[in-house]
Amino acid sequence: MYCLIVRKPMSEDIQLIEEFLRGNESAFNKLVVKYSKKVYFLALRLLGEHYDAEEASQEAFIKVHKSLKGLKEKKYFFTWLYRITYNVCMSQKKNVKYSESLETAAEVQDQKAEYYMEKMKQDQLKEHVKVLMEELPKQQKAVFVMRIYENMKFEEISEVMGLSTGGVKSSFFNAVQKIKCGVKEKYEL
């Protein structure tokens, strides 16, 4: 009698991590290539400057390279990578500001004056939201960025930032309220 042992298929990340831990550096390169954009854009939204985001993202990967051996649950690699990125960004002492790296993405589809007026209002609203986001406290901004731009669940954000899920939800609520109140002072929503 033969017994068929079925193994649960490993995700690509786990396979690459296992290969890297066996000494295969090109496996780590594949991880860098796979996640470089996500890590870079998270850093960009947290730090606001291209150069700072590039430095922070590479620093994060260097830390990952050093400590990947100690990661117990390899299936949580992505969350752990984000946590390192977040910590690297928070350790930078510069003010977190959005700069010209962020631009509005609007397309012209209509020639009517009302459309242009409305578009101008929307663009002004977006600019104002951008400014208000710059003024958020670091923690609230980080939660807001991860929720809105990275589409992360509150539980994932809490893992990355080392906060309770309730704390993350509270930070998100406060961030949204701050931006909303700031916008309402100038615009009708």
Binding site: N29, S36, Y40, L44, Q58, H65, L102, T104, V129
Partner: protein
């Protein structure tokens, strides 16, 4: 849930909650509450405006150079740490550490004897002389030497 509880959860709901129970309760409440619906629409407008802010992609040239730049940075950092683990710095650092530990013992202590400061050598000499003064004084030391020590 009452209006206050609903409003506390509107931000989560508007950003796409994973909690189906919450989503159902909020949706049902909004059907019948104009004030909460107004609040929800304001939050939605804010999130929509924020979500439309695009981060500028640095371009293909940046991404094609990202991995080589990372590897170069890695090599510089590893190079430094590897240097620290080579024999010469290890021996140098060890010697410095040993010297710092031993130096308090090597420093000569000053001994006060009869109101005068003498070295440890002189103090030992004086003790010997005191103990065997009669025996040694005449043989080993002349009076001048004894006076200078005392």
């Amino acid at each position: 849930m009452n209006c206050k509880e609903i409003r506390n959860n509107l931000a989560e709901y508007a950003s796409g909650t994973e909690n189906n129970v919450l989503a159902s309760e909020v949706a049902a409440h909004l059907k019948n509450c104009k004030e909460c619906t107004k609040e929800y629409n304001e939050i939605l407008a804010v999130l929509k405006a924020a979500g439309s802010l695009k981060a500028e992609d640095p371009g293909d040239a940046f991404w094609s150079g990202y991995l080589p730049a990372f590897r170069k940075k890695m090599e510089r950092k590893i190079g430094f740490f590897e240097f620290l683990s080579t024999p010469v710095p290890v021996v140098a650092l060890s010697l410095i550490a040993v010297a710092l530990l031993v130096s308090p013992v090597l420093i000569n202590t000053e001994i006060h004897k009869k109101g005068k400061v003498v070295s440890a050598e002189q103090a030992a000499l004086l003790l010997e002389i005191e103990q065997h003064y009669d025996e040694y004084a005449a043989i080993l030391y002349d009076e001048e030497t004894l006076k200078s020590i005392r």
